[in-house]
């Protein structure tokens, strides 16, 4: 059939199973928006800033496991997407970013709203395409989706000049992808699996250290089987939260800079560290030479470049971690109890529990615990911004299921939470979606309240308002002699009034005894977003805290 490039793009997206795209129109994408006017098979969500589109598509992808799609015009539209693209890249989230481009005869002439998008996004995307011929469009879309969702997932950028949208082609969508230079290996090498199984059998003090790779490979079930079969305690990275239930007796919670004391001690003392879908990030390892100093290290990951990048690895296994875990399960033998080791861990758990003190003020940890308790039995997704709000949620919410924790891990993007919550709510309409925000980060994409209001999204925004850029203030307090340089946000506008002006329900809570009722009231609202401004203790810190440059067992515990 004969289609314009714009029609061909919509047809191709439809064939890739895309149900929703998040976008913002502009000059060069007019032909595409015109085609959307006629073809309504794919729902288009109008955001209020392109960064919101990228994060919404990202949140949608994290919550559903599908590929998220965002769309922007050329120049500033595209550059506004870049933070979202970089964010998805750092966290290995499958995303397609479609950008309009100036018409091919105008390329390279500093034309109106021209920016070199493939050039700009090269270091922050898995791959990128600039379409020069409309005939190439179906093949490129097919390849882009394949690259985004296979191997180590990530964002792929498709830059499309205006004339490419207008030209007509005889449309045929390819059945198969043929990229000779892209063949990710998924099966772990049997020899390596054997070595790993032997090391697991021989270990006296093993620890499983799991990350986002377990979530993206949907490998939680296999992980649980391995942990239980061999009695191995499990620690999770920020990205791995939900990959192993926090309520399980083998759970150590999160490790690293703000990890639990028992996770950090266990990793420091262990004789075998089994890394699965992780990348030994600096926030996890602390002082790298003193990380897991007594351990042999097994590292299983889909991305060969991660293996051996940051630490020396004794047994590398490259492959899809679901398949690797399945293969390991078949090789590891009868139950070894590791009694002494698990007793030692139980002792650490008893001695150094996660704790906070209640006094007359609202404590953020209390808000988070109550949020969880009052949501019991409901399908819940927690989204966060970045900073103290994120770390308190990571530590105190205690996640039990994958894809219920959506947070910007690698890039640490303030302003991620609200648009990502919107995207998650679109992907999982029945879920209770809550964004824990700070008074700093909520303002970075607050315009996305409009998107939520217009689409009657009942997302709950719980602002943990301490009148500070809290995490930076914490570092200033502990490392920079309490020099609170430019972190006081007490001249913020009234967030309740702002939310109300957008059409959201909003109110302020100042007393601990009002917290539970406020959360229940927020849960009862189903036709629009809710913002609750919790005025919390101003100088509450996130503990444990490993000061930068220290080994992870050298924590400030409280």
């Amino acid at each position: 059939m004969e289609l314009t490039g714009a029609q061909a793009l919509l047809e191709s997206l439809h064939r890739e199973g895309v149900e929703i795209i998040f976008g913002y129109p502009g000059g060069v994408v007019l032909p595409l928006y015109d085609a959307m006017y006629a073809d309504k098979r794919i729902k288009h969500i109008l955001v209020r800033h392109e960064q919101g589109a990228a994060h919404a598509a990202d949140g949608y992808a994290r919550a559903t496991g599908k590929v998220g799609v965002c769309l922007a015009t050329s120049g500033p539209g595209a550059t506004n997407l870049t933070t979202g693209i970089a964010n998805a890249h750092m966290d290995s989230i499958p995303l397609i970013a479609i950008t309009g481009q100036v018409a091919t005869p105008l390329l390279g002439r500093d034309s109106f709203q021209e920016a070199d998008v493939t050039g700009i996004t090269m270091p922050i995307s898995k791959h990128s395409y600039l379409i020069k011929k409309t005939e190439d469009l179906p093949r490129i879309v097919k390849e882009a989706f394949h690259i985004a969702r296979t191997g180590r997932p990530g964002p792929v950028v498709i830059d499309i000049p205006k004339d490419i949208f207008v030209n007509k082609i005889d449309y045929k969508y390819p059945d198969k992808v043929n990229i000779p230079s892209y063949r990710p290996s998924t099966e772990g090498h049997p020899k390596q699996i054997n070595l790993a199984a032997k090391a697991i059998q021989a270990a006296k003090k093993p620890v499983l250290y799991i990350g986002g790779g377990v979530i993206s490979a949907n490998a939680s079930k296999e992980l649980m089987e391995l942990a239980e079969k061999c009695n191995i305690p499990v620690t999770v990275t920020l990205m791995g939260i939900g990959g192993f239930p926090a309520s399980h007796e083998l759970s150590l919670g999160m490790l690293g800079m703000h990890g639990t004391a028992y996770a950090n001690y266990a990793v420091t003392e262990c004789d075998l560290l089994i890394g699965v879908g992780v990348r030994f990030d600096d926030r996890v390892t602390g002082h790298i030479a003193r990380f897991a100093p007594n351990a042999r290290i097994i590292h299983a990951d889909i991305d060969p470049a991660e293996v051996g990048k940051n630490v020396r690895v004794d047994i590398p296994i490259v492959g899809d971690v679901k398949k690797v875990l399945q293969a390991l399960l078949a090789k590891v033998g009868p139950k070894e109890k590791h009694e002494q080791w698990n007793e030692q861990i139980a002792e650490w758990k008893k001695k150094y529990p996660l704790a906070y003190k209640m006094d007359g003020e609202i404590k953020p940890q209390y808000v988070i615990e109550q949020t969880r308790e009052l949501a019991k039995g409901r399908d819940t997704i927690i989204v966060t911004e970045v900073g103290q709000n994120q770390m308190w949620a990571a530590l105190f919410y205690r996640f039990d299921k994958p894809r219920t924790w959506l947070s910007s891990g690698g890039l640490g993007t303030m302003g991620f939470g609200l648009p990502a919550a919107n995207g998650a709510q679109f992907g999982r309409p029945e879920a209770l979606v809550i964004d824990f925000a700070g008074d700093g980060s909520i303002q970075m994409n607050i315009q996305e309240l409009t998107t939520a209001v217009n689409n009657r999204l009942p997302v709950k925004i719980f602002v943990l308002n301490n009148c500070f850029l809290g995490m930076v203030r914490q570092w200033q307090e502990l490392i920079y002699d309490r020099h609170y340089s430019h972190t006081n946000l007490c001249n913020n506008p009234d967030l309740v009034k702002i939310a109300e002006a957008y059409g959201a329900a909003a109110w302020r809570v100042t007393k601990p005894e009002e917290v539970r009722a406020a959360i229940e009231k927020a849960y009862a609202i189903n036709d629009r977003p809710v913002l609750v401004d919790f005025v919390i203790a101003k100088e509450e810190n996130v503990f444990p805290f490993v000061p930068p440059g220290q080994a992870i067992n050298e924590m400030i515990i409280d």
């Binding site: 090269m122 600039l130 990229i179 060969p304 470049a305 990048k309």
Partner: protein, 160 residues
Amino acid sequence: MKHTISVIVENKPGVLSRVSGLFSRRGFNIESLAVGTTEDPTMSRMTIVVEGDESDLEQIIKQLYKLIDTLRVFDLPPAEAVESELVLVKVAANEKNRQEITQIAEIYRAKIVDVAETSLTLELTGEESKVEGAIKLLAKFGIKELVRTGKIALQRGSAG
């Protein structure tokens, strides 16, 4: 330590910039880079000389493989490769030393490709040590300009 690596990539726009961008953002040092098409016009071969230890080399190779357009990457240890480089050197010359420069050119089997009143331009090819040796000898006459292609290399024998 210096390593020579050969990278076969899809001959597509932007590939050179993907490779060079990778080196700069990951802090790998490129000593030289030579690129051209191969026996198959849809593919290009890059010969890259890099400085680094074994773990750097491993990381460079893995990161290069990670680029979607990369087909093959291999390390070429000197013993297993034939290597060559082409250099053009413009040497300051006068009536007195013209003879001596010509003799050096002969020893190194360099071609004299341009003769002018105050200079001679030599075309040198060969392995790094030979090229470096010639340049060192020519330096005393005064090198006015110099350009190098960077090393190109192929695996010896039927491998590859």
